[in-house]
């Protein structure tokens, strides 16, 4: 599996400049308005969605066809995509924190609140995992030519699920106080892990059935 991860990291290495440029644009857009901390969510999402680009690269050179003759299994191929997605999400959150810190230093508007910054980055990381985990089985099932639509679906489905659950809870009389939101945030790693595992299993099943 190490080789599969390495392959994706090398492949995406060429896009580092464009990613850095995207972060710079974000910083220019958000820092002057004093919303540097929101940047972390956007940068994490952009970085995480690069996983779809890795599928594009694979498809262009018929990588999966070749990978099947290497001593790796279909499960290894899927698992490597999830590991790479986690690396991208972490890199996106780190880039977001950097913009946040630079923003706070430049505007000198507020003290750098480490706790809030880290909590935001962690929340962004888990949101990225939720979106990214959903994107992988969709690309495996429908291919990369529909990637724009799939990206939209991978945002829409988890968002609709969260919105639906929140709506149901509020109908049931649950009030979303700050304390409850913090408690939910504490649970987010667990929820993200469950979601990640479920999506991984679905991806394995989809890829196993697919003839390469």
């Amino acid at each position: 599996m190490k080789s599969l991860i390495l392959k994706d990291l090398y492949n995406i290495g060429h896009n580092v400049k464009s990613l850095a440029f995207s972060v710079l644009i974000l910083a220019c857009g958000f820092i002057p308005t004093g919303n540097g901390q929101e940047c972390v969510y956007i940068s994490t999402t952009i970085f995480t969605m690069m996983i779809i680009t890795t599928f594009n690269f694979d498809e262009n050179c018929k990588w999966n066809h070749y990978a099947m003759v290497m001593p790796v299994s279909k499960k290894d191929i899927v698992a490597s995509k999830y590991v790479v997605m986690l690396i991208f999400a972490a890199a996106g959150a780190a880039a977001g924190i950097l913009v946040d810190i630079v923003g706070a230093l430049l505007t000198k508007s507020a003290d750098i609140n480490k706790e809030t910054m880290l909590a935001n980055a962690a929340a962004a990381f888990f949101v990225g995992i939720v979106f990214g985990s959903m994107a992988i089985p969709l690309v495996l099932r429908f291919g990369t030519e529909k990637s724009r639509l799939l990206m939209f679906v991978s945002f829409l489905v988890p968002s609709a699920l969260i919105f639906g659950i929140c709506k149901l809870l509020s109908i049931a009389g649950v009030e979303f106080t700050d304390a409850l939101i913090i408690r939910l945030l504490c649970f987010s790693p667990l929820l993200a892990a469950v979601w990640l595992y479920a999506m991984f299993r679905i991806s394995c099943a989809v890829f196993e059935r697919r003839e390469i």
Partner: protein, 286 residues
């Protein structure tokens, strides 16, 4: 001779195409050429052998074991497809690192030796390499994990004769070790005439024949004749025939006997191309 690869009665059906009971064996230390027209089933056969495509029935065994039950067999199989399967921004150096992570048997010094021998710079991006150089990189990768079997699917197509000759030399060197074998599908039958020991001809999903190349080269012949002479040729001497503009080309499996028997007719040697053309474009006596 000990068998390295045994393909027995493999079948696969798609809409409009059926691979039907394909069987052949590859003994150790030999090169088998897989020939046939486009869409005949050569690549499907190779993909089934490699367990990339699931077969409907039949068995494929390497050293007596099925690939699906023992994935470690893949360490001993080197594969080259008709195009490179690494992303174009990678360099041979990065390709080496990727493969080193995949193969336990990966030998980095062998890989570097091949890069040097093929004149490949370790830091050149794949997109800057010519088709021939890309193919050489694929071959370097395939040979650097100490495989015992090389599977080549149209690996020499699109290359100039000089480049092909270089590559064929590497393959001949590989089979100097009698534990090694090669299965090579190619449209360029002259390459197979140079290096193959056996030829398997697949036509419309069926194995037409699987024979030693020398048997085809020394025994098969083509009787060139007119319509009236054609009627004089006995049916058991005709494998297939092709009607051309001014003559008929009749494929026979014993050219010496044909020369003795049909003294007034011209009997030429048959190349693999000739045999293929007469079978594919000609007719057989029912």
């Amino acid at each position: 001779m000990e068998t390295l690869l045994k393909v027995e009665n493999i079948c696969k059906e798609y809409s409009g195409f059926k691979l039907d009971n394909v069987s052949f064996t590859i003994p150790k230390g030999t090169i088998m050429g897989l020939v046939g027209e486009n869409g005949a089933g050569k690549s499907t056969t190779i993909n089934i052998i490699l367990d990339i495509i699931k077969k409907d029935s039949g068995t494929v065994t390497f050293w007596g074991k099925e690939l699906s039950s023992d994935k470690s067999i893949k360490e001993d199989i080197g594969v080259v497809f008709d195009e490179i399967n690494f992303h174009e921004t990678l360099t041979p150096e990065k390709v080496g690192k990727i493969c080193a992570g995949a193969y336990k048997q990966w030998n980095d010094s062998t890989y570097k030796d091949y890069l040097k021998r093929f004149g490949l710079s370790a830091d050149m991006e794949i997109k800057t390499l010519s088709k021939g150089m890309k193919m050489k990189l694929s071959i370097a990768v395939a040979l650097s994990h100490d495989p015992k079997l090389l599977i080549l699917d149209e690996a020499t197509s699109g290359l100039d004769p000089v480049m092909r000759d270089d590559i064929l030399d590497v393959f001949l060197e590989f089979v100097q070790d009698e534990e090694h074998s090669i299965i090579m599908s190619s449209h360029i039958t002259t390459d197979l005439e140079k290096i193959a020991d056996n030829i398997t001809f697949i036509h419309k999903g069926n194995v037409f024949f699987s024979k030693p190349k020398d048997e085809l080269r020394y025994n098969y012949g083509i009787i060139r004749c007119g319509e009236s002479d054609f009627k004089k040729i006995s049916k058991e001497d005709i494998l297939a025939y092709r009607r051309e503009e001014y003559q008929l080309s009749v494929l026979t499996s014993d050219k010496k006997a044909a020369k003795r028997k049909y003294r007034n007719m011209v009997v030429d040697d048959a190349t693999i191309d000739d045999i293929l053309l007469i079978y594919v474009k000609g007719e057989q006596i029912k």
